[in-house]
């Protein structure tokens, strides 16, 4: 099914492809024609966050590649003792599935938001927040387990000391993002439930009219948190 191209400017006149890119950037207007200022700003914030997480992962990579002391095996470190045997990385796998599920419910919340289904949107956002909180809870469990086993930012019982510092820094920063996301979700879900976006009530971070696009912008942040986890999962836990 073809979707109509929604342009805020004059539809049909703006060229597509590379020609369109040049036209958009050189126009004496907004460069991101179909994205509102709110959406563009969220994207640019996420780009800056990409650099922050990128620097963390690069620092970790450099530390891991340049240490002469053996790096602890994440597969064993993050194993759980279940039913009399060690299952490798099981907690991390469950956390990954929980976060992906929350991304799925968030994407559907955005969809129902644009359909103006207030109840479904709010419920799906609450479910997303619940899964996010579950993720943070499991991370707290993971941190507690490692701390009782003697992992510190300056040492750990299994080898390279940098394992502790990079672990706490990277997962801690990601966990903070998830926590802020849960709070952000609850705020927007409350507004959806109250019907703020149906009456275009003014509020939130600005005094501008609230529209259901706020749900999509919130969703961009949430999906980004899931996206970062994809890279942490691959580089920190599977490497």
């Amino acid at each position: 099914m073809a979707h109509p191209v929604q342009t805020h400017g004059e539809p049909g006149l703006s060229p597509v492809g590379l020609r369109g890119v040049a036209a958009d950037f050189s126009s004496d207007q907004r460069a991101f024609k179909t994205a509102s200022w709110g959406k563009a700003m969220m994207w640019i914030f996420l780009l800056s966050d990409t650099f922050v997480f990128g620097c963390f992962l690069i620092a970790y990579m450099t530390a891991r590649m340049s240490t002469p002391v053996a790096w602890p095996n994440p597969s064993e470190v993050f194993a759980l003792h279940i039913g009399g045997q060690n299952v490798p990385l099981i907690l991390i796998a469950i956390m990954t599935f929980v976060l992906i599920s929350s991304s799925g419910t968030m994407a559907m919340a955005v969809n129902f938001g644009y359909r103006r289904d207030r109840r479904m949107t709010a419920m799906l956002m609450l479910l997303t927040a619940l899964l996010g909180a579950g993720f943070v809870g499991m991370q707290a469990f993971e941190w507690t387990k490692l701390i009782t086993e003697g992992v510190r930012p300056w040492e750990n019982p299994w080898g390279a000391a940098q394992f502790g510092s990079t672990f706490f820094m990277i997962t801690g920063f990601h966990g903070t993002h998830v926590t802020i996301g849960v709070i952000f979700l609850l705020i927007v879900a409350h507004k959806v439930w109250r019907g703020d976006f149906d009456v275009e009530r003014r509020g939130f971070f600005t005094s501008r009219k609230g529209r259901y696009e706020a749900v999509e912008i919130m969703g961009l942040y949430w999906h980004f948190v899931d996206l970062v986890w994809v890279f942490i999962f691959a580089f920190f836990y599977l490497w």
Binding site: H3, P4, Q6, H8, V16, G17, G20, V21, D24, F25, A31, F32, K33, T34, A35, A40, W43, I44, L46, T50, F51, G54, I58, M61, T62, M65, S66, T67, P68, V69, A70, S75, P88, L89, A93, T96, F97, I100, S101, S103, G104, A107, V110, N111, Y114, R115, R116, R211, E213, E216, L220, F224, L227, V230, F231, F233, A234, Y237, L238, W239
Partner: protein, 121 residues
């Protein structure tokens, strides 16, 4: 005939209410399922103890597929104008230059450590 009329009405309603990303729920459920399967594959790489270049290839392929699906469908990047797509996706690509710099730096650091402090335990 009636379908086109409904479609036209639908468009008018959209235009009146809200612009934005409207895609069938089925697409989101499909991508969700795909992300689940890809994550399961990533986990299986570790669970089955695949090692060496095969491990790296599999991990990176599953990672990029997951990241691509999230950005393209969940974050609606596939439906944005190219100006936004390039503005957001090109800068992170340059991070790879930084990665290359730090890889060579890390190789140099471990080389000097081994040369001056002897073999690692």
């Amino acid at each position: 005939m009636s379908e086109t009329t409904a479609h036209a009405q639908n468009q008018t309603v959209h235009a009146q209410i809200d612009t934005g990303q409207q895609h069938p729920i089925r697409l989101y459920l499909f991508v969700w399922g795909l992300l689940f399967v890809l994550s399961a594959f990533s986990y299986m790489v570790d669970y089955l103890g695949v090692q060496g270049y095969l491990r790296w290839t599999l991990i990176l392929v599953f990672m990029m597929l997951k990241a691509g699906l999230i950005v393209a469908v969940f974050m609606h990047m596939a439906w944005e104008r190219l100006a936004l797509v390039y503005a957001i996706l090109l800068p992170p690509l340059l991070v790879l230059v930084f990665v290359a710099l730090m890889v060579s730096e890390a190789d140099y650091t471990i080389f000097t450590r081994l040369a001056f402090f002897g073999a690692a335990p």
